[in-house]
Symmetry: C2
Subunit: 336 residues, 2 copies
Amino acid sequence: MRVSKIGEFGLIYRLAGLISKANRKTWQSSRQVIVGLGDDAAVWRPQNPYQIATVDSLVENIHFTLRTITWEELGWKSIAVNLSDIAAMGGTPRYALISIGLPENTEVENVEALYRGMIKIAGQHRVNIIGGDTVSSPFLFISVTVLGTASNAAGRVLTRSAANPGDRVAVTNSLGASAAGLQMLLHGLKFESKLADAIRKAHVTPTPRIKEGQTLVAKAVKCGIDISDGLVGDLTHICEMSKVGARLNVDAVPVSPAAKVCFPEKALELALTGGEDYELLFTAPTRVMPVVRKALACPVTVVGEITADHPGKVVLVDGAGKPYTMKKSGWDHFGQ
Amino acid sequence: MRVSKIGEFGLIYRLAGLISKANRKTWQSSRQVIVGLGDDAAVWRPQNPYQIATVDSLVENIHFTLRTITWEELGWKSIAVNLSDIAAMGGTPRYALISIGLPENTEVENVEALYRGMIKIAGQHRVNIIGGDTVSSPFLFISVTVLGTASNAAGRVLTRSAANPGDRVAVTNSLGASAAGLQMLLHGLKFESKLADAIRKAHVTPTPRIKEGQTLVAKAVKCGIDISDGLVGDLTHICEMSKVGARLNVDAVPVSPAAKVCFPEKALELALTGGEDYELLFTAPTRVMPVVRKALACPVTVVGEITADHPGKVVLVDGAGKPYTMKKSGWDHFGQ
């Protein structure tokens, strides 16, 4: 059945039903809601006084194509990329507002699958969906706002502007699997099923590193970002905002084992510039790194250092300290 | 110059410059910001513990056409419709997050004009723009999230679900001018210039009734909504959420004088179902109405009453109490 058949209010009614069932009353976020779905705006009373907000939009044929991602995965990803921004601040996600634009001939079942994916990941993080807007649109887009609170009482967060010369630069887990998955999907490449599954999942259902971000804040790390544009691009964002430079040792970069097997020639470039890994990239004084490594359950790899030289720029070197050149850096939505 | 020429980051840099100049440091909202534009997410510490959030998306050729609205007016309107949702809760708007999807060939000057319109109305309400997302898209869309706080310390707000049988139903100012403006613009109709200007402005740069909403809360009104779908449609929303019925006296509806002159035959229908007036519709016990009327600077007109009969339904009657029939009710984005 098409959405044009049941109309905007019919669709909202169905989606509100799905969401109401999913928002658990026992969550702290839910207990704080005063006015939820269905009014002009949502109202709640947060416990922690420090509020965090982020918004990200995904547009069909720009950020995704339904030829390579299911509706349910798309729902997951649209929430995940926002949760990742909260993780990049070391915060706790609490609420989501979902604005979607749908072509009239969209199948209601597909919209419901989209929301199932959203509800699944929201539930994992006890995120309460408190509002949104459902509109007709010539193309599919999803714009999600996630609201959260600082994870510590003093309101400390990770920012892009807190890197200092001498800091080590580190990343969580490994990089490149998401970009490898995208390459496979776009070019219809075939790999051994476990590998194919791993890189596909890395791309379509990324894991936001919420706990890791909170642990970084708890261990006094001050500077962090999530890797959405690519390691080099996101480290450049830190350099620009912190008015520092960075030296990145490409031989130290933890390249995803699956990406290495699938794209032996290209895996390093995918790890450096592919983006959408949603791992955390952070900087901290040398002495803090062992503390962080001990506190985090996931691998932490030091990949470089912050410099006072060449502010705003990332210099790539190999393990021997020699300059390393690569082709492209980061992801620009307007294709520059 | 096209946005594709300066790229995503070039555009964001320009827009961030415009916004930074516009966000005044003296505003309470600005003083509470800890991390503003340019990081993964925004962080702030609100004074009032009760938070309010709303999101609304405008899509080209669905909600507007650039043949009839300027970029600057579109910017104004995209913020205004969200401020109106905060007004409908009786809250105080504080922050905005702006997500826009832009075709690659969009002129940078037009995007800047869009932001000028946003900044103008945001400034009038001391709303600090703290974040957003700028993406490439095959069509222009604007998705705005506005965050606010309750306007009173106890967190009281206006909701759609607080109407009680016996309540009077009232509206602020007059209705139908916005829909009259839309008719004029879509059909290229000509009217005397002052009239044409009045109905055009009502449609393209509506005024959110922030102060009026706050006054309603202060005077103990509990039930309110803003008129975006149309008087009948929005009163139906109240009836559904409050599980009550309503009787609406169409002869009492304050029809916009300009709409009456321009569309003498059609003005009442425009006032009843045209929508996008962004006036406030509220219900309160009979004794509260004179108090509200005295406290509000704008006209307040009682147009009906809440009934225990026919829950979820609005019955239209004329001044003599006889049933009144009309053609369509409300605005459905999927065109049902």
